[in-house]
Structures are given as structure tokens and as C-alpha cells.
Symmetry: C2
Subunit: 845 residues, 2 copies
Amino acid sequence: MQENVEFSGFTRIRRVAPIAVDTHGGRAKCLQRLIRLDFPVPETVALSFDAVHRIAEGQRPDAKALLRHFSEKTLVSVRPSSQVPDWGGPGAILNIGMNHDRHAELIESHGKKAADALYLRFVQAFAIHVARLDPEMFELDKGELTLEAALQAYEDETDEEFPQDVGTQLTEVLRSMARAWGGTTARLLRQAKGAPADAGLGLVVQEMSLGLGPAESGSGVIQFVDGVTGQPQITGRYASQCQARDALSQPEGAMFLTRDQRGPSLQELCPDIFDDLVRYGAVCRTKLREEMQIEFTIEAGKLAILDAVRVHRSARAAVRIAVALGQDGVITHDDAISRIPPRSLSELLHPQVDPGAKRDVIVTGIAASPGAAVGKVAFSSSCAQAMAARGEPVILVRRETAPEDIRGMHSSVGVLTERGGMTSHAAVIARGLGLPCVVGASMMSLNRREKSLRVPDGRVLHEGDTITLDGTSGQVLVGEVPMLGASLDGPFHTLMEWADERRDIGVRANADTPVDATVARNFGAEGIGLCRTEHMFFEGERLTVMREMIFTDDPDDRAAALARLLPMQRKDFIELFRIMSGQPVCIRLFDPPLHEFLPSDREGMRELAEALNVPLSTVTRRIDALSEFNPMLGMRGVRLGITVPEIYDMQARAIFEATAEASRSGDAVVPEIMVPLVSAMREVELVKSRVDAVAAAVRIEKRCGFDYKLGVMVETPRAALRAGEIAQFSDFLSFGTNDLTQMTYGLSRDDAGRFMGAYVNLGVYAEDPFHTLDIEGVGELLMIGAERARTAAKGITVSICGEHGGNPESIAFCRAAGFDYVSCSPFRVPVARLAAAQLALKQTV
Amino acid sequence: MQENVEFSGFTRIRRVAPIAVDTHGGRAKCLQRLIRLDFPVPETVALSFDAVHRIAEGQRPDAKALLRHFSEKTLVSVRPSSQVPDWGGPGAILNIGMNHDRHAELIESHGKKAADALYLRFVQAFAIHVARLDPEMFELDKGELTLEAALQAYEDETDEEFPQDVGTQLTEVLRSMARAWGGTTARLLRQAKGAPADAGLGLVVQEMSLGLGPAESGSGVIQFVDGVTGQPQITGRYASQCQARDALSQPEGAMFLTRDQRGPSLQELCPDIFDDLVRYGAVCRTKLREEMQIEFTIEAGKLAILDAVRVHRSARAAVRIAVALGQDGVITHDDAISRIPPRSLSELLHPQVDPGAKRDVIVTGIAASPGAAVGKVAFSSSCAQAMAARGEPVILVRRETAPEDIRGMHSSVGVLTERGGMTSHAAVIARGLGLPCVVGASMMSLNRREKSLRVPDGRVLHEGDTITLDGTSGQVLVGEVPMLGASLDGPFHTLMEWADERRDIGVRANADTPVDATVARNFGAEGIGLCRTEHMFFEGERLTVMREMIFTDDPDDRAAALARLLPMQRKDFIELFRIMSGQPVCIRLFDPPLHEFLPSDREGMRELAEALNVPLSTVTRRIDALSEFNPMLGMRGVRLGITVPEIYDMQARAIFEATAEASRSGDAVVPEIMVPLVSAMREVELVKSRVDAVAAAVRIEKRCGFDYKLGVMVETPRAALRAGEIAQFSDFLSFGTNDLTQMTYGLSRDDAGRFMGAYVNLGVYAEDPFHTLDIEGVGELLMIGAERARTAAKGITVSICGEHGGNPESIAFCRAAGFDYVSCSPFRVPVARLAAAQLALKQTV
């Protein structure tokens, strides 16, 4: 026990004192900066991380020595000063030094009310946070608890008089704050925000500027931009006769800062002080290079600046502030880029539920695709389409979605499913479409027959009822809730331009439809990195033709069905090529197992039998024959391409005919054809030889000398291991990390939901590998594949096109591994562009 | 064109001529050996591979020079001499040199009949094989085609006289034989037998010993062991007035070799020649170190040895012959080991359809598990059990089998399925049980409702009909066909003992049941490398308890169900430990998804609802909730072990209690516990900590200080990549190559059947990777995993326990990679032991 060892370890903050963020915390450092700017900051002493750590360990601070820095009868406050403000810390404690003697003196100088208030505030804080007494006894509303009652309660609970020695008061406060930092909850909370296990806490002890008493006294906060929009605007509050930030929490008596018709303002009350504050704000902005919120006190007409903190801001405001600082030359463009967390951009790209709106949450699921939408509930894709046709916004609610729901999803403004995880079908498609989406809302119970939805509190929703879906938070709200629109304004585009100047890895989008492609263009994608073609076969008439093709055993009939699909596919591609106007478009050949195109319920089978004019038994037998134990690992991708080569032949022809057509009327198109689910070199060799033959034929027929590229989607561990030989037949390799993750873990993303939560909680997996790229396992396969491919075929293009493509961590990995580009869903393109720029900057430094 | 360049390139075979197998082929070399042994071999000239190659390329051999080696009026034969007899070659052509002049002379010396026969034989062979005329015109039965008609037909077809110049005759024969070697069919056939693309052909030109003519003339073959049993016995045939091997194909007139009551014999006819032949046979055996079949001719009472070839033999005979040669000191034990192809042992371990029996094949499928069985058809497991209970042999016929068919399979003598491939459930289990099995017999059509089976030719079988299943050939025969029994005789055991002396990698067996374990012991397995525990839960009462456990949400009820399973499991393990008497037993913890234990049809669900006394809807809902998109990649293995830890707790307890019990009454047991489907280190860490706790508890309860090992089944690519960290918590790693192959390829073995045939035919995969270990892909993961594990944890045991474990190629790979043992199905253990010994010997050389 070192209980009795006294030590100091504190530093008076002056212009030249040795104060640093990583030894004393951000607040201490900021206060030193303010002092250097000649702001009227009261005397302040900083305790280092080390000092606080020793206090927590049981060493006794030399409070007497500390107090010697202050004038004898001064009250002091103690505030936390952690390395990063976000990591939190114990609450501030004010008015340390109040005791019966000071109380008596202050009655004389400041009046009884002020003296009582000052003492009571300290007794309350000390009782609750230092002596750990029952908060209920001390947290009564202002006015209901008198100073005397509080002191009595303290004595009753502790059997001791309230400590009168200022040194003891300060020692106990420091000790309690030091220990609070080591508490489990505090530790977990800050670690969740990225703090290391040994993160330190600093403390600052500051002379109180009271804010209570005779003449104009009070306190307030002021900032010079709006925290939601980022527009320049003086906001804040001031209230006479109050301490700290009370003006914000107790609006009665608080006044405006600038002259305002609605009531009194600081500008009118103390014009000089107001002017000083405005001047200080401007100095902060240029010297601290940031928009700061200033906490100030007026004691008997004299201004004191207690603190300045970064203005709390929305993602939208953050972008506007950073860009404005950059444009004003306060910071460099690179600094502006570095200041925006890439993921926060999602908030700008989608409408959001107004943070101020009242939320009647009926169920919460996994926030699978950001943004919010208001719409009417539909329980089937057909119903969704019908409602959309009537011009009604629809939210599709399903147990889970399947490929045949694509049209229903296209018709909807949001998607809600009972099952599934971050990478379920619904989640993936919704992110691609930019639809808000909540999945895995397993607490609700869907009754498809009665077309009703029972939510946990017992309420039942019916088809047509209006709900608001918040895909950013995962909440489902009943009724229509006010929204904030997307904000792709000037500053956003400016930031993106700056980012692109620094970025050194390409960013493409995964886009299957003209709508996707248009969004991708608008968000600055440099081409399409993954165009899945199978969705194209689910639309109306096409599905029927597909099914005819699947059902025939006669090669001629199959050829006839494919011939009918050809012009539709060609049209799809012409449209995509036109939208992307010369940018690369990477088209993945047909991938899913054929049974995905067949109905799964009895009714659908009966309809199909009628449509094809065959007996029901033929339909069921065929479906039965095509069914698979593990469809993920079955007859799909290139396996289908080799076994039924006519499908790829048709697709290649559609691509090349579209190339010829689009190149005639616009920029020359160089399509990229990607072969899915490869596991052996010879698969590529075989497909390539047929595709080459189709290209040669189309070149002659259309008298058009187009080029094209053929490459491989690396989705199996074996393709990664054998990338060297596969590269010999490939112009590019694109890692499909969704399937690659499934196969590397032996884990189906559709089935992982049942235990993934438990797994992440138990720390079995550090993260859901479908959400965050598994660098150790899947990542190693990416490295092996890329290296072997490049050794075998210098100059081969290497990229990633899985769901991970838009994650900053994955981009960092791909950039470090020398990948040429990442491809992600259109709505993540700006995130990726910014993240990539930041990575490039980090490396420059 | 080098048409006109003449060259020689032939060597007269003498004792010291430069003749080698890899320049002149095996026949030429063998003939030289016979000459060295002073056998009466007629004058022979060998053409080298190079010479034959040049002839095929168009160069003209110097036939005149060649013929100078023979006396002027001699007829000659030409025979192929490939490097390995199995690689084939064109048929021999005899009597070259016959023309009108020789014919006239031979009429004088040998009579018209002999002269005509000699000339006709040559004209026929020349017309068909050299001039390539229509065989139908020349292949009439003996006696129906006269010499004159043949010569006339030749002239009619070619518009040329039959060639009279001997040099021309020989040149054309050599050229046609040289070119036949390069033909596509011949090339593919020999490559299928392992010949390299550039395999050469040699030819031998030998003076004819005619076998026709005055005094005793004729020809025959003789060998000194039985080709089926390998027992010493003189067999063969001789016939007067015939050439080559005609005595074998034309039994009329052929005689016995040894004195025989049934008819005339060579021993009686020419006792001196017979004695010479017996002497030559004995010399062959000791000097050529092999049992040879001798081809001989008698011309006018004079013996000529034309050739000697290795006696064609069954696997059983091969073993007996090799062991006898070894025991007699003719060859070393190592030579004996090397002479038996390991895979051929399968033939010894199972009963086989008598090769001589008449086969009425009704359908052919994939030969999935070797051996043959006769039994009555049963279309369901329950029917199979009922029939077996009546003592009737049953062949279970199913569309495909599922885990609930285990008991039916146990009751059957063979399994036939309509679907599936080499690694389908039926195939894997049948191999494990040593049951003959044919899968993927897709041409038959099973009607479960009518309990009938329609085969391709329209016949319909009903329950109870008798069939014979040949799992070695994949054929299904109607009725009862005669069989040969298994032959685990003395020579087999001797060979295995010799092999074990050389073997330097362990061989264990995959064995789940006492029956398996007993077979494994009998076949010399050094322990159990994989004991799957899930099968134990499908039996009778256990299945019901399992289902109760699956259906309860109440932890207490679950604990109660598991408590009922505990003693059953304990009994299983005690029995296994006793059978293996101290040898290691590696028990894999519970692996399959829970839904495998639930019924899949409506009827079964209704029964279950009744049994559990819950509404049907509860059953269907639960089954629905547990159903998975890709069960292979779902909630199974260690994922289940971590999510429902009570199951592994119960199993660990059962294992340890059984260990205590079995160790008390026998050898000390050190059980090995294997965790399935691991993909992350922490999974192992978590399971290990619980298992350790159970062990500690049981040690105290039972006052027994047993040891145990805990290890990991490496089945996911990620586990292989992360083997280094996984090894820190593991005593052993065992690669489960079945699942590892599935995940590395992204290919479900249950679904691969639909295209695997096409894939192997197209050369997309060189081999079915579920059948032959994919060295390039899966093999690399094995190497990576083993290396990393050993670097991290020196002395860790590394093994393989997938289906590949018994394949000689996989054993070679594992041995080279330094694995400690392979584990395979019990019936492959002898194959593995022999293969491993051969590999060790190869390395010594």
C-alpha cells in the first residue's frame, strides 16, 4: 500500500509549460493554446496521465502544493482531460473549496442566494460522485433541496461532517475521478470508441470564475457555425446567475447571444463582452484551425474563457466546415480531407429521420442499409408493385427476400425482413439500390396468410399501414416521421474533388441496372466493377423465357429461348454502356443456379405447368432434379457456363453486339467479361475460347473492330491459390470477397445469422467477417492470389468487388496490397473515394 | 518427305547385343534373357523405338539387310515390343515371306494343307492390317475361305497382285505396325494405362518355327501356377498342326499338357519336350524371378521357345506368387512388397462376382464401394431392417441415403442408389461399413409409392426380388450370381507383415461402430483416426431423445435429455476402447446440423408431433426455423458446440467416464478429442477450456488420473491458414479432406455429381477431387497448415482423415509432407499399409 506517499506531478498551464495531448490530454493542451492566444483563461493546473494513474493506484496527491498555485480563497473546478474527447471521462466537479467559512464570506460578498447555490452544487457533486451516496437524496430539483438539508443528509449518511479542509476536498475529488476512469463500464465504453486498454486520463484544476453574485454574472456557451448545417451562424445561450453549461439545460432565464426580437440578448446586455467573444471565436477558427464552441463565464462584469471544445456537428456540417476552412486557407485541402470520417458520408447520401422527431419504435433490427423512408407496408412483391403502380410509396416487409423479390424491391422505398444479417440477400440488394433496409427484426412475427405483422408490444400492422423505416439505426417507427433530405451540396462535391486529387486507387461501383449505373456516375465511380446479369432475367417476360429454356431438353428449343433473350440482354448492355459513356463496365456472366428461376411453392408450380402446357408432375420432377443440398456450392457460375455453354454464348454475343452498337454512337466501349466461381484454370481456358469465337463472329458481322477484356471473379480459395495459372488466361482478377469469405470460413452468410451475434459477443470472431474483411484468413488468400497473378502475368488488373469493397479497412488492405481498384455499391462510392484519399495522405506523411 | 531414305537400326538379339527395355521394349529384352539362358529361341532381330519411330515418320527400313540375318527361305514373324506389356501394340503378323514360290516349295516339303494354311494366314493378316481391306472379306471361319479366294479377293480390291517380294512384304508390315502405334485410339488406350505421350514401340522380327507340317508339329503355351489362385499347377494347352496361341482359342484338337485321364497330353505325346518345358519353367522362375507363361512351337519334333510373358493373374494370385517367390529366396521381401499394386488388394478383401459367371446386367452405376453381394431388394430402411430380422440378406435401394438410413444400411448386405457420386452419403458410409455399393444409377427409375424399380430395358423389380450387386464394377445383376469369397489367407498376412516392417507413416482407420473397429483391428489399423459420434444418435431410442433435446427451449429439459444420452454414449466409447485395447481412439465431437435429426416428410413430422405431444405446427415451425440454405456451411460442428455447449459437455463427460472405466479393466486409454469445423483459434480455446473442466471433474469423481488429447479437424481453408495459432491449443491436427475439398473448390460433393463426369471428361479437372486428392489446391493448404502448426507447436501430431486417406497418391503426399499418420476406412487399411511400405522402399532406392 502506498496510501501515504505524497507526490505532486502537476503543471501550471502557461505559454511555455510542457503540456502535450498524449501526456496531459486534449483539454489541458487546448487550454494552453487559449492562454497562448491571450484569452482570459483563469489559472489552471494540469495533472498528467501518470499522476492520475498513480492517484488511482492509491498514492496521495500533494493537494496543499497544488492549491498553492491558486490565490488562497479561490474555489476550483476539476475537469477530465482525456487524449481524445470521445473517450469520455468523469463529469466536472465545481466549487471545490466551499466550506462553512467560505460560505459565510460569500454571503457577505455575493449574497446568501449565490453563496448557498455555490455550496449546494459542491455538496451535491461530492456526495454523489465522491462519497458515492444515493443520488436520489441529492438530485432533487433546484430549489427543493436546501443547502442545510443537503449537509444534514450528508452527515446522516456518512456519520461525518461534510469535509471542511480544502486539501482533503481536492484530494478526494481527484481520487474519485482517477478511480472512475478505471471502472469497467467506463473502460468498455471508451474501448468501444477505439481507445487502447491503457488509455490515460489527465485532469485540469481551474480557478473558478463564479458566474453568481453581484453585478453582471453568469455563464454560457457560444459557437459560430450551425452544428446541423455547418452554415456560419452565431448560436449558443447565456444566462445570468448560473454556472457552467446550465444555460443550455435550463432554458428559463437563458438569453439569446445576438440581438433578437424575441427577447433579451447578451449582445444588448454586454456589447463589449459580446464583441470580445466574437473576436475570440474568429481567433480560435484561424489559430486553432477549427470551429470551436467557447464556454465562458462573466463574474461581476468580467469575462473568463473556461474552455473551448470542437463544435459538435452532423456529418453534413462537418463537410461544410472542413471545406470552408480549406477554402479560406485556414487549413490545407489535405487537412480538410483527413477531417471527415469516411463512413459519416453515408448520412449525407440518404434522407435521414429528423433527429428532433418523436420516435415511436415498434421493432428494432439490424441496420442493413442506411437512410430512412416512409411508406405503406406490403407483404409481397406483387402487392408492392401494385401499390407502387398506384403511386404509393411502399415498404416491402418479408420474412426474407429471394431473387424473385427483385422487382418488388425495385418498386419499394424501403425493405424490412424478419430474418437475415448484414449480407443477406435483402441487405445486399438494398444497399446496391440505395434503399433503406432493416433485416433480422426477429422480434416481430409475420403472418403472410393473414397479411399482418405483430410487433413485440402486441400491436398488429396490416397491409397498407404507414411506417417509417430507419436503416441507419435499425429502427422501425409507426406512422410518418419527419425527415431530413440528402445533402449532396457544393461542399460535398468540393471535398470529393479534393479527395480525388490525392486518391491513388481506383473506385468503381457494383451496378446491375441503369438506375444503379446512374447513381454510380453521379457519385463519381470510375466505371462498373461488377454488373451482375442474373437480375436481368427476373423481369416479366424474361422469367418466362428463362423457364422455357430451363425446361427444355431439346437443344433447338433451348437455342430458340436464348435467341429471344438475346435482344433483351443487348438492350440492357447498350443502356449501361451509354450511361457509363466510355468508362469500363465489367459484366459478370450468369452465376446463380437455375433453380432460383423456378417457383418454390405449389401454386407457382401449377401456374408454371399451365404456362408451359406441361403436366404438373413434369414441373415438380424438373424442380426436384435441379434442387441442391448446398446451392452455394453447386451447379452455378462457370460450372453452368461449361455444362450449358449456350447461355454464356448468348451473353457474350449480347455484350459484343451492344459494344458495336454503343461504340458507333458514342465513346468506344471496351467491355470486360468476368467469369464467376472459377476453381480451375481450364474453366477459364474453355470459356475464353468460346467467348473469343463469339467476338470474332460479331466483329465480322458488325464490321466493327472492338476490343474487350476477359477476367475471373476469384471466389473460391482454390482460384486464389491457383491464380498464377489462371492469370495466363485473364486480363484481370476481381476478388469476390462475399463468396470467398463463405468458403474460407465454411460459412454460409444466409445461415450465419443464427449464431453470428453470439460469436462476435464471445469474441470468437473479432468482427462479422461478412461485414469487415477478415484480413488474417481471407486477406491472406487475396495477397497470395494477387501476388501469384502478378508474377505470372505482369500488368494484370487486380481488384475487389465483394461487399467489403466500400469499407475503409478493406480499401486500406487492397491499397497496401497494390490492387488497382475497389468496387462497391454505388452509395458507398463517396465513402470509398474519401477513405482512399485519406490512406494516400497518411502514407505521404 | 524422306520416303526413299533407307536405313537399318535393327539389332540381332544375342547374349551380348545392346538390348534394353527402354530402347527396344520388354519383349526384346525378355527374348535376350531367354537366349542367355540357352533356351531354343529362333533367330530374332530387334528394331529399336527410334527405328520404329523413323519408319512411322516415312523412312524406309532396309528390309534386305534385315532379312540377311535369316536363312534365305525362312518365314518370319513380327511382334510388338513396348516398354510395358500393358501398353499394348499392334497384333503379331506371322509367316511373312510366303509367296507363290515358297508356297510351291512348302507343298513339296509340308504338304498342301499346311502350305495353304501358312500362306492364307499371312494373306489374311496382310490384307486386313497392312492393306487395310475390309476385314469381313478375309475373316471367314477357317475352311470357308480358300487361299485362292483370298488371293483373288486381294487382287480384286487392290488391283494389284499380292506382293511376292519378301523385302516389300516385310517393309509394308513394319510400316503398318509402326503407324498403328501412332493412331489415336492406340495412343489414348495406352495413355489411359499410364504411358507417356512419347512412349516408344519396338518390334521383334523372328524366324518362324512353323508348327505345321510333317512329323510332330504344333504349338502351345504352358505356365506353372494357377492364374486365379496363384497355387503351383501346370496349366496351358498344346495342339498339333497349329501356330501361335491357336491352341487356346480353338479347343478342338487341343490337348492337355500333363498326363490326364480325360484325353491325350503333351506329356504322353512328347515326354522329352514336356520335361524340357518344365525345366525351362523352373529356370524362368529362378532366373527371371517371375512366374512366366512360355509360348512354344514344335516343328518336326523340335522344340522352339518363341516367347515368355508374365503369367496373367488375379490379385489374390499375385499376392501368393510374390510371397512364394519371396519365401523361396528368389526375390527379396522388398521386391515382393513392390510387386503388388496396393489398390488391387481391395479385390481380396471383399467377395467378388465369379469372373466366369453369366451376367444379366439390368443397370450400371458408379462403383462406389468394392465387393459383391446377393440380396433381396428393399426400398426403405424399415423394410430392410424387417427383412434382415427375418434373416434374409437385403440390398437397400434408395433414391439417395440420409443419416436416418444408417440403421437400414447396417441391416443390408449392399446399397444401391439412383443419385449421388463417389462421395455421396451412401458411398461414404458403405465404404466405411465395407458394404458393396453402387450409386448414381440414374438410368433406373424408383417408384417408392408402388415399391417398384424400373430398369432401362423396361423390366420392373419389386420388393423382395433377388439381385446381385457388384460394387467393384458398378453393375447390378438380376438374380443370384455365383461369387468368390474374400481371401485373407496366409500369403496376404505375410505380405502385410513384410510391408509393416518397411512402412514409416502410421495407418489408422475411420471407424464409428464396434463392427468398424473390429474390422479395423483385423486389418491392422494402428488405432482409430476418426470416430464420428453423430451416427450414434440415430439409433432407436436415442433419436427420440435427441429430438426431445432439439425441441426444448428450456435448459433444464435439454440437460435432462442429454443426461439420458450420456450413459448410451459412455457405453459406445467403453466398447470402442475395449476393442482397440489401448490403441489410440480419436473421437470427433458432434458435427452435423441438428435438422438432420428431424423428419423431412409430412408423415414423419406428424409422428414426431404425436411422440412429443405437441401440435404439428410446433414441429413444422421448429423444423422450418432450423432449416438452412447451405447446411454444409451452416450451424454445425464447433459452431453448435459453442452455441449449445451442453452437447459437447455431455460428450466429453461420456468420453472421460468411459476412459476411467476402460482403463480400470484394461490397457490405459488416452482418448483423443477432435473439434470439427473450426475456422478460428478462439473456437478451440473455448471448447478446450470447457473440456478441460469436464476432465478435471471426472478425474476427481472417478479418482482416476487419465490423460487425454484435444485437437482440431482442419476442414475449412481458414483453419489451414491459421493453423499456427490454432496449434497453440491443439495436441493434434487432422485434415478432413472431404470438407476441405468442398470448401476449397466451393463445391458440394452432394451436388457435384451432376457435372463431375462432364468436367473430368473435358479435362476441366484432371480427376474428381473427391476421389483423388487435389495436390495443387487442397494439397497446398495441407502443406501450409502442417508447416505453420509445426512451427508454432513443435511435435504436434499431423494427420489426414478424409476419404482420401486410403489412396496411395494421398499417402505419398502426406508422407512427403511429414504427416504422422493417415486414417482411412477400415477396408482400405491394408491398401494404405502396402502403399506406405512401397513409398518407403522407393525412397530407400
